[in-house]
Structures are given as C-alpha cells and as structure tokens.
C-alpha cells in the first residue's frame, strides 16, 4: 500500500492505496465521493471524467498514485455553496438528463470546454461531449442544455468585459414552464393544460441530486464490511463442465470463498418457465450451470472476497476444465435439426412454434394483382444501460430477513421471485431500489448473479455486493432483437393490401429467462400497424442458440413497424406508386374506429392518419421530393423515410390472460396526508431515469388539488410501496400515474367530506353550502365555487389533516381517523398511442456514411403529464432505434466467441451521430384511462428503425439496392454500393 495525498474539490484527502488502485475507485471508495461514476473502465464512456488541474481526464485510465499531490475536481465540486451552478441549472431547465448516470462526466467535460471556449457553437459542443455516452436522452437536451449554458457563459463573460451587471433573461435558476421544448413547434391538437399540474413541463425533482453528484446508485450505497462478488465466466460458447478446481484460491488473503452451481443448487430453486401457451416448450434454468455452459460469459463460479480487486485476482486462478462442444449459432441449422442441442432436456432447439390465420388469405392471394415479397432482418443488440447490473444483499440473521438493494424495474414481482427462489417467505425479503442508471428491459428479472449474491449473503451472514463490469454487461447480461421476417403481401393494382403472410423467426439465445414467444408474439400482433388488414397469416418460430439469452428491450415489438412500413415502400416501388399514396389507400381513418385488427386487438382513440398528415404537412413533402430530384443530378443522395406506427402500451390484466401469461397488469398507489398537511404518495413502479418522482407528484397534485412540489413521492422500496407490477411496457404514466391520480381523487373525497363539516361549523364565508357540492381543493386550500371561479374558505388542507388525525371526534359520524387512500388500478387490456416519423438522410456513397439531416415526430400520446418528459422519452427512443439501424450489434465468430465485448466494439452512438429531433404533439385523450393518458416510451424505437432504414433505402434507390439486414454500417453500405452506378434521375 502507498500513501497518497489528493486535493479533491479543495479538500485534502490522505489515502492508502495499492499501486493498481484506479483513481475512479480511490475517489469513490477512498474519498467517499460517489458522484464520479464508472461506466466501462476502458476509457470510452466518459462517465468517470474528472478534472485534474482543470483538465478533463478519464479517472478509470489513471492510477490513484498518479494523482498524488494534484488538484482534482469532481462533479461534487462544481456547484457552489448556494446550489447548482449555471451549467447544472441549464441541464435541469432543458431536461438534459434522464437517469443521470452519465451526467457527472458530461458536466465535468463541458465545464472544461466552456472554460476554454465560452463562445462554443452547437457543433463544437456536440463534438466536445461526443466522448461521453448517454443511453437515455438521445443527446438532444444534453446539447440544448450545453448551448444554453454557453449562451449564459458567453453573456457573463461579455458582461464582465463591459462591466455590466449579470444578465437575468436566461440566467441560472430559471425553470422552464413552457409546455414544449425548444425544437417543438407546439401542440397541434388540444392545448395541454398549462395551468394545472397535468400537462405542465415542470423541471424534475430528481435532477438536483443527479446533477450535484449526490444521487444513490447501487454501487454508491455504503455498506461497511461488505464483501465483493466476482463471477468466473465461460470462455466457450458451448462446453461440458468437467471439473471446477477452486483450491488454487485458498490462502489468498482476502478471499472468503469460491462457490459453484452445486452450492447454488443446494441453496436456491431453479427458474422454470412453463406458462400454458400452445406451442411453447417448458424450460428450466439452473441458478448457476452445473453440467455445461451455453454461451461465452455464462457464469460458472463466484468468488467472494474483501475487495473487487482481490475477487478478480482469485477468479483468474479458478481452474475450470471444459470439454468443448460444437456451438449452435446458425438459426437455419437449428430449424433443420442439424445444430447441436443447446438444452438436452428438450429434443430440439426450436422452443416455440405457432401458426395463426385470420380471414381467408389463400383466396386473397389467388385474386391478387401482384404478390410483393419483402425480407427484414435485425441484428442482435444489447440494452447497454450506462449503469450496469448490480446489487448488494444484506442478511439480518437475528430477524432472518434479507434486504436486497438493486436496480430492478419491478421491485415487487422481483421480491416475490427472489423470496421463492431462496425458499424464504415473501415477508423475509425487502427490495430497495434507489437511483437507477438506465435499464431498457435489462433489469426486469432476478438475474442469476443477483440470486447468487443474495444466497451468499445469507450463507456467509455478511453483506455481499456485486457490480457488473462493462465487459460482463456486453457479453453476459441480456440481449434482444435478433428477429427476422419474410413477408408476402397480396395487393391490388392501385396498391391496396389484400392479405399478408409473414414468417417470423427469432434467436432466443442460450436460456429461456422469459417465455420464448414473449417478444415475437408482439411483433406478430402489431404487424398490421395502422392499416386495414383482415386476411392475415403468420408462422412464428423461436430457437435457442449459444448466444446471450434474449429478453425484451425497449420496444420488444420494435421490428414490426419496419416490416410493415418497409413492405408499404416495397409495394410502392413494385407498382410505381408514391409511398405516400399507398399509405393513403390503406391507412385506417378515425371514422373507422373502433377497429378490431386481424389478431383481435381493438384500436380506439388513436389518430394514425392525423399524425401522418400532421408530420407530412409540417415537413413539406412535395418540396422534399423536388430537392431530392435536384440533388441526385448533382450526385447527392438524399432520402426520406416515413414510418407510421401504433404503439401498444400499458398492458392490462386482460391482455396477459388472453396471452396465457400468468401475472397482472394492475398498478397500486397510496396517497397519505400527514397531520401537518404534508402529502406523500407511493406507487409500485420503479423508474430508471424516466422521472417518475416528478410525474407521479403531478398526478397526485392533479387528483388532490395541491401543488406538485408539495407532494413527496416514495418509489422502489417494497416495505413502503404498494404491490404493483413495476415499470415496463410503457405503462408507468398510465398505470402508475393513473393509480396515483385515482388514489389522490379518492383521498380528496374524504378531505371534502371533512371539509363540509369543518366549513359548515367554522363560520367561514359561504358556510351555507354545507352540502359541499361547491367545495374543492386548490393549491392545498379548501375553496368554494363562486361565479364560475373559486373563492377561498380560509380552511387549509393542514386544518383538515389536523382534524382527521388529532380531533377524530369532529369527523363526520362513522368516519375513520386519518387521511390515506390506497387503490389498485387495472388498466384496459391495451392502451394504444400512435405516431408518425419522418427521417431525412444524405448517404455518402463513397464512405457509406449516413447523415441524418432532419427528424420529425408527430405523436399522439393522449394527455401528457409532463410534455418535457414525454419529449425526452421520444428523443431517447429514436436514438436507441437509430443506434440499431446504423451502429450497434452483438457479433459472434464461427466458434461463438463474442466479438463485441467492450464499448470499442459495441458501438453506441455519441452526440456526433445524434439527429436533432422535432416533436409535434396531437393529444387525443384516451376515453378509458384516468385523465386520458396513454403510454408512449417505446414507439420512438419502433418508428426510428423503420424511418431511418426507409430513408437510406430511398436515398440509395438510384443504385438499385434495398437494405434488408441491419445494421447498415458505413463500411458495409459502402461495400454494397461499390461498383454500382446510380441511375440518373429522369426529367
């Protein structure tokens, strides 16, 4: 150990470190400054950026000993004693962060850049932060915040030079209350309520802690004496485990033990996924594999030691003898039965098959003018949240209770599952979710590693923690979207769709951690999209392989939009029609609603034609075609992609029952007014960056008649939150917000019942209206209707609360003391929203690079709780889908080795690649949900996969090429275009 003296944020720290201790770890563990986050440890993501002597540095690429005697500034040192600095305030005002895990690195990077370049342009700022990855925001509002900060910085420096006073117009501390963002051109449909708590773009309450480095992510939780787990993982795609020799780790100081699948088998129950779904093969997954490994990264043993460093040292010494087997990597070989068996307990790698038929496709095909054939293939992706998976388990032996700190999206279902697999009663397990650095579907289940850590905490009677590193996250967490579709479409001569036949296949990876049809069935369900289609057949096949297990990932149905919209474009090409015309002929109009689709889903309160026309009109479609034509003559290949989509959200219990999936779609909330009048609420959802503390406060405020800032919101702790189904499937706003709104309304009923007594007996003005019909709650005060407005009664919520708790004899006869409402809300089977995306690109045929010139979304998400949050969700979703089209992909070689284990190889888009996104809102309320809310967080992914790909195909049309496989990387596109000659446009 070596002693170092580091001055951090003006304070001297004396630390004892090993030479190998990374500066990032020294700051977090040694100084206790956990605002600096670790996102990759290979210097790519930028989350750990700090300033050394004022210059930005990756603290994961510097040793703590190297910082001896140096001045370090971390995010905790940016704000003055008065609170956030102007840069941080700009991020709050512009909603420049969501989960906030990457934010400290971005703030530090921009601080250094703006110090040198106070007049930085948007392009320069975009470049400056392009070494900082963000998975949530699509960078849109990061850039907006940076520009805002630069404006204020340059204004300050100008005013300092001219000796003027501080500017106030865009100064620090300003909060945005505008209903739309800077790039939005305003609501197109109904005006969102800008005066009430719903529909107002208030700034997020989460942001202060996320911006100041005081948030609490799993790895930030201080647990003195906690042990560190590290997993030994398979280097083979497919191999029998012959022996595991852990004796090599004995005697290493700090190593507590090495445990294997045999240990876990004794302590835990395996995962069995066997819902009664036709065509689905029941499958079981061991807690850790005992007989064979099934993909590179499969965990085979776990080392527990007193530090992460020691645990990794010992893991490197564990000797696992494998007998290597041929891997199953080729889907076609599995379909033909030629591939090795991934799971010997079943007789085929095909674990789900379904044939579906509605109407009479055969007759329609026989009478068709033409059959259009299309193919679509999406590569394997992974969620890559900026905060990897992780957990910390604390076993209280005296009480025989386990506390599990983790980042799950679904605390209560997680607890149910964890307790069952540990053979504990549910009340013996408490799950606590604090700040979560993104999830996108990855933190939806009890992962095998998390189960092992919980079991070890109990077995060892010591706190045990685990933080997955980035390589593990990219190679062994979960993956998604290796889906393909082959489609035949029967059409008339004028482009009307008569019938569709689709063959859908999906590579499910090594284990069934979800039912095998879980994702692909929603692809099939949503394939009809916004079009009239009665005669529809599909065949669905899902196979196991020796790859990372598959899971839902933000928009599990995502490829459906690409399939349908790509087919529409193909129809237009085949028939020589304009793609806009083909959509006109087939798209459902609002007058045709409610419409029951070929798969039995009911569309109502949706406006696909309206969002489509809104987008086209705002864009200037005809003008674009003229520009495209002129540019082609000059050798500039410009293209426009159109994607219309209907997004399924907020799956209700009735949907799950019809799908054969056990479980519920309900959500629960409680709202309580304490004796002082303080309002607190809780819901079963658990955000990973979506700002639910803010939006739930808005929903409660709307229901109860108080200001959002007066509502405290507690999420993520199963001892506090009511049993709800958590955050998934674009349900948190409608199911969670809906439950909160309804619970608050129920509580308001009780408040008003008390108020009727109170106002009636207090002699307050207007006490004659003792029937209470005119009473309401506004901004925490009891008011009475008068002359079309309201007048105060002089009675505050706090007065009612005091009575309810402390003077129960004054309550109406029979009324229970206290002020709390608990409510469970089960939303409709499905709440659909809709959108249209237009994307314009320019393709450089030499470099193959695709530049997105313009991106426009017209969205109908019904009543929005917070438009700024909604837009942030759209930005992030569009970037996620675009990343899949252009850059990202989990790659394997012929032996099943993972070729993309780091952020060097698994390419997340940076700010340099991010398009500017314009959002238009068409707020058609749902008639079936509280407040008219609809879900919306996945449609951006659906739309962007389709729109970006279509734009590229439109741009390269003169080359006679259609891209059917993703990703369309620049080298790949260039290789395909090389040697082709573009047809010159006709006059």
């Amino acid at each position: 150990m070596t002693g170092v003296e580091i001055n951090v944020n003006g304070r001297q720290y004396g630390l004892e470190v090993e030479p190998r201790t990374l500066l990032s770890d020294a700051l977090r563990d040694g100084c206790g400054l956990t605002g600096t986050h670790v996102g990759c440890e290979h210097g790519v993501c930028g989350a750990c950026t700090v300033l050394i002597e004022g210059r930005p540095v990756r603290s994961c690429l510097m040793l703590a000993v190297q910082a001896d005697g140096q001045d370090v500034t971390t995010v905790e040192g940016l704000a003055g004693p008065d609170g956030l600095n102007p840069l941080q305030e700009a991020f709050r005002a512009e909603h420049g962060l969501q989960c906030g895990f990457c934010t400290p690195g971005i703030l530090v990077t921009l601080t250094a850049h703006l110090a040198d370049h106070p007049d930085a342009t948007e392009a320069e700022l975009r470049h400056a932060v392009s070494g900082n990855l963000c998975r949530c925001t699509g960078y849109q509002n990061v850039i907006a915040a940076a520009v805002r900060a630069a404006r204020s910085a340059s204004a300050r420096s100008a005013s300092a030079q001219s000796d003027e006073t501080e500017p106030t117009a865009t100064g620090p501390g300003e909060t945005s209350t505008a209903p739309t963002g800077p790039t939005a051109t305003g609501p197109v449909g109904i005006e969102p309520a800008t005066t009430g708590p719903l529909g107002t773009a208030i700034t997020r309450r989460e942001d202060h802690r996320l911006l100041s480095g005081t948030a609490t992510f799993v790895d930030d939780i201080a647990l003195p004496g906690a042990l560190h787990a590290h997993f030994v993982r398979s280097p083979h795609a497919h191999a029998s485990i012959v022996t595991i020799d852990t004796s090599t780790t004995r005697g290493i100081q700090g190593v507590v033990g090495v445990f294997t699948g045999a240990d876990l088998a004794a302590w835990t129950v395996p995962l069995r996924v066997a819902p009664p779904i036709d065509g689905l093969v029941p499958l079981e997954t061991e807690s850790l594999p005992t007989a064979k490994v099934r993909f590179v990264g499969d965990p085979v043993a776990v080392v527990v030691a007193d530090s992460r460093y020691t645990a990794e040292d010992a893991a490197a010494l564990v000797r696992v003898e494998y007998e290597v087997l041929q891997p199953a990597l080729d889907l076609a070989a599995s379909l033909e039965g030629r591939a090795p068996l991934v799971d010997e307990t079943v007789d085929s790698n095909v674990v789900f098959r379904e044939h579906f038929s509605a109407g009479d496709a055969a007759t329609a095909f026989a009478g068709a003018h033409r059959v259009v054939r299309t193919r679509f293939s999406h590569q394997r992706m992974t969620h890559a949240p900026m905060e990897t998976r992780g957990c910390a388990a604390v076993w209280d032996a005296g009480r025989a209770e386990l506390t599990m700190y983790t980042g799950t999206q679904v605390p209560h279902p997680y607890r149910t599952q964890l307790a069952a697999r540990l053979r504990l009663a549910e009340h013996q397990v408490r799950v606590i979710v604090q700040d979560v650095g993104g999830s996108f579907g990855q933190k939806l289940i009890v992962h095998r590693e998390e189960l092992a850590v919980a079991a070890l905490a109990r077995h060892l009677d010591r706190p045990v923690r685990w933080r997955e590193d980035r390589i593990e996250n990219l190679t062994a967490a979960l993956s998604a979207r290796e889906d393909s579709a082959e489609v035949e479409t029967a059409v008339t001569a004028d482009g009307r769709i008569l019938a569709v036949r689709a063959r859908l296949t999906s590579d499910f990876g090594a284990y069934a951690l979800f039912p095998a049809n879980y994702m692909l069935r929603v692809v099939a369900m949503m394939l009809p999209n916004a079009y009239r289609l009665a005669d529809y057949e599909y065949d669905m096949t899902v196979v196991l392989s020796n790859k990372i297990p598959a899971s839902p990932m933000r928009a599990p149905m995502a490829i459906c939009t690409w399939v349908t919209e790509g087919t529409i474009d193909a129809i237009a090409r085949d028939l020589g029609l304009d793609p806009v015309e083909v959509r006109e002929r087939n798209m459902l109009r609002e007058s045709e609603l409610p419409y029951v689709t070929a798969v039995g889903e009911t569309y109502e309160d949706i406006t696909p034609y309206r969002t489509y026309r809104t987008a086209l009109d705002a864009y200037g479609y005809a003008e674009f075609r003229r520009r495209q034509h002129a540019d082609r003559k000059a050798g500039i290949y410009r293209g426009l992609g159109i994607a219309c989509l209907v997004e399924p959200t907020t799956y209700g219990s009735a949907f799950y029952r019809s799908a054969g999936i056990p479980g519920s779609g309900h959500e629960s909330a409680w709202v309580r007014i304490d004796p002082s009048g303080a309002v607190v609420a809780s819901v079963g959802i658990a955000p990973a960056g979506q700002g639910h503390e803010t939006t739930i406060a808005q929903a409660v405020a709307a229901g109860l008649g108080v200001r959002p800032e007066d509502v405290a919101v507690r999420l993520g702790d199963t001892e506090v939150a009511p049993y709800g189904m958590g955050t998934r499937g674009a349900r948190s706003g409608t199911a969670g917000g809906g439950a909160a709104l309804l619970a608050a309304q129920r509580l308001k009923d009780k408040v008003l019942a008390i108020a009727r007594e109170q106002v009636g007996t207090s002699g307050a003005p207007g006490s004659g209206a003792a029937d209470g019909s005119g009473l309401d709650v506004r901004d925490g005060e009891i008011v009475r209707a008068k002359d079309g407005g309201h007048v105060g009664t002089g009675v505050a919520l706090a007065d009612i609360a005091r009575t309810a708790y402390l003077d129960p004899l004054s309550l109406p006869p029979g009324m229970e003391p206290g002020l709390v409402a608990h409510l469970a809300y089960d939303p409709p089977p499905m709440t659909y929203s809709n959108a249209a995306h237009l994307c314009e690109v320019v393709v450089d045929p030499v470099t193959g690079q695709v530049r997105i010139e313009r991106y426009l979304v017209a969205e109908d998400a019904g009543t929005m709780i917070n438009p700024k949050v909604v837009e942030g969700q759209i930005h992030g979703a569009v970037m996620l889908g675009t990343g899949g089209v252009l850059y990202e992909g989990v790659s394997y070689d012929a032996e099943g080795n993972n070729l993309t284990p780091t952020f060097r190889d698994y390419v997340l888009p940076s700010a340099q690649e991010a398009p500017r996104i314009e959002v238009l809102h068409c707020g058609t309320p749902s008639s079936r949900t509280p407040g008219g809310m609809k879900g919306m967080s996945e449609g951006g992914v659906m739309g962007s996969i389709a729109a970006v790909t279509a734009a590229i195909n439109d741009a390269i049309a003169p080359f006679g090429l259609v891209m059917e496989d993703l990703p369309i990387t620049a080298p790949r596109l260039s290789d395909l275009l090389a040697g082709r000659t573009a047809a010159l446009p006709t006059e």
Binding site: P19, R20, L22, G43, P56, V57, R58, Y309
Partner: protein, 287 residues
Amino acid sequence: MKPAPFDYARPRHLAELLGTLVDGDVLLAGGQSLLADLNERKRSSRRLVDINGIGALQRLDVGPDSVVLGALTRHQTLADSPEVRAAVPVLSCAAARVGHAAVRTRGTLGGSIANADPAAELPGIGVLLGASAQLRSPDSSRRVDVEELLHPRAIGEQEVIVAIELPRMTSRDGWGFREVSRPGAYAFALVTVAATLRLAVDGTVSALRAAVTGAAPAPYALGDAAGELIGREPDQEWFGAVADLLVGRADPVTDLYASAAYRRRLIRHLTHEVLADALQRAREAMS
C-alpha cells in the same frame, strides 16, 4: 475489470529512470491505451515505471529547422500550443483528432509512437514528415527514424523514447490531414491520410509528401515514389496518380470494423480531399 497487481516506480530524472529499468518493466506515459489493457487484464506487468515525473521528457524546442518534442508532450499541447501549430501545423491538426479532450489531456506523443497502433494519427505524421526518435537505454543512446520504430519489437526492453524530432514545415508548405473514424464515443481512426506539398512559381508541384495509416501493418509514406509526381500540374489526374500510388502500397486487413476493400477506397477518397486542402494552403501561401 480491475488490473492485476503490479509494483510501481516513479523516477524523477532520466538518469534515475535509466538506472532503475529492468527487463519486464512497462513504461507508463499517458496510459490511455495501457491502462485500458491492464484493466481488462489483457496485459499485466510486474512493475509499471511511471515516467510522468521526468521533466527531461517534456521539452518543447522549436528551432529554425526542426522541432524537438519530448516524449511526454501531450496531445493537447500538440493541438493547442501556438509554437507547435506554427512549426508543424499538420501535427497539431492530427493531434486534435486523437480521441477526446480527456484522452488528449493524458495521451503523449512518445506513448502513441511506442504503442504503434497501425491506424493511430500521430505515428502517421511521424512517417509523413520523416521524424526521428531519440532513444536511451541504461547503456546506449541512438537516433532512429520513427518509421522504423513502428514495427514489433523495434524498441528494446530497457529502451526509452526520450524525444521526437521533426523537420520544421515552412510557410510555403501546403498541408492536409483527414481521417475516417469509427462512429461512437471511441471514434478511433480507421484510415488517415496526411500530405504536405510545395508549389513552384509556375504552379507545378515541387515537393510532395504523403502518408497513410490504418491500411497496412504500419503507417507508410509515399517516399521516393513521389519523384515521378514532381514537376507536374496538380490537377485531378495528378490527384488520382497520387492516390494510385498510395493505394498500391496498401496492405489492409478485413476485420470487424471494415473490409480491406473499404479501407482502400478510403485511401483514395481521403487522398483527394487532403491534396485539395494542401493545394489550397500552398496557393494561399504563394499569394
């Protein structure tokens, strides 16, 4: 992941460094590639010898004919220093394209050359300009062309790059540097092309240098092949002839990121752009 254990030494003087080096030591300069490798346990070392405290490795001397840059000169200094920008602008331009600000804060010229990534920007500039390196070991001292250092095991076990010497560019030298990088936050160069050229009073080319990275096991220059291009009018045909020569010397690989054919096409594409940039600067210098 975290690095495996190692010992650590931080000598304060060159003599102390040379006195302490033993076989197997790994020098730690900027650490922007080394630490990532150590973190991933792709590399390990019994001992890291941190050279960041050695003042003699940080010199920056601009002379009338040459520029001597200590091995520890940071990319940020190369990009921002007015002296470097004036003396070897093509180096400043290339340095500004290395990684991101945080990488440039730490990354060093000597480290980049010792690391010898085939696609990296700065070794390519060393090859372009015919830079040489001063190397020291406990018992010897030598000067060698940077181009020769960029091959495996070209630097001895106990050898240290002390400084890089580059010929100073003149105001008559037009220059260009362009690259195509991989997308995303890593943004490492796929292929870079750099060129300098000088025009005679009649507008023909009187001197030409060009170099390519990312298209062969090591960066390569046009070298003597430039001879046949001298004295000619720098028209599109001439651009094509330069590109032909550069592409002809390429020996690219196909890997996860790009095909060999793509890398070849990038050389041609970038060569045209770089020559146009260089020509414009040369003409501006003449007028």
